[in-house]
Assembly symmetry: D2
Homo-oligomer: 104 residues x 4
């Protein structure tokens, strides 16, 4: 993941895209890509949504949007110096306290 984050930073730098890559713009781009992922599912029933990878074309579209979401998330974290994995690990720790699992 850190290697991909560095590749994305080099990619943007080689194209002089940094002035566009404000945290505000990258967060916005992330949400736009997340909506493009949602768009694939918007008229599907829950059951149809579970079979979306069976069709080659829609599978490729889903993977493409996942890549875009992750790309903007990593670029957002890069410009603000955020460690996304550490942030998530800390959040899971907090949620284990906040939503205790039922005893079995």
């Amino acid at each position: 993941m850190r290697a991909l984050q560095r590749r994305l930073a080099a990619f943007a730098a080689a194209r002089d895209w940094q002035p566009y890559h404000t945290p505000k713009n990258l967060a916005t781009a992330l949400s736009v890509e997340a909506s493009e992922l949602v768009e694939i599912f918007q008229w599907l029933t829950p059951e149809e949504s579970a079979r979306v990878m069976e069709d080659e074309k829609s599978a490729a579209r889903v993977e493409d949007e996942v890549a875009d979401v992750l790309a903007y998330l990593l670029q957002f974290c890069e410009v603000l110096g955020i460690d996304a994995l550490a942030a998530l690990a800390a959040k899971i720790d907090r949620n284990e306290v906040r939503f205790p699992a039922a005893k079995r």
Copy 2:
């Protein structure tokens, strides 16, 4: 990242949340969290947005939303068997052809 993905899957399973975790719902939740990240920036100028981590409270809020976005992205990939890192690597490969960097 894969360890976090497994932790999230175990977390959801221990709380019987799987019936809610259809690909459609997880993609939707991802986009809702991405919008909560955007909300932090919506009235900021580009310059203010670059200083968002200087304030302890807004920094914590940003990290919290980043964690939520990554959490739903990983859970979405888990239920559909998608390797997000491989999808992103393939996408960067394609983009290097699609957007050639200017010669220097």
Copy 3:
């Protein structure tokens, strides 16, 4: 609708909010509010989503988010001089050609 649009413009002017109300920020705020509306439905089944107005509290929440979405849509149209109703009428005209109804 035009009366509400004027009320919203006066409301923003009285609070000196115009510098924040760039088309970019208003479009972003609109999408953030649309996501808050989606959030109400994100874990519901299609059937549960159809009954959302039966509970007084969730009905009030839905109406509140509808108001927010419409407010930002009208303010966006105000700053750019767009007539939303005319735009929609033109779009329906185009869609009637694009998606012909099946003969019965």
Copy 4:
């Protein structure tokens, strides 16, 4: 506005689209269209965003997305029996109390 709402309802009925038009799906479609509106602005500066209607092509794109957002908002309100104008008027009343304008 109510005439457009009726036209949209007739349009959907003539194409047998009602089973897809659950409140959940319509709210989701609304947020997807709002993001398509945001996409037009995502890399623009605040100043560039204020001039978006000067270019004929981007003006047409903006009006098209405004029409889509309004179309899904009206269809959402139709299926749930919500009066969007009344909801907004009530919200402005509440906000006038919540955010008093500075005395001049």
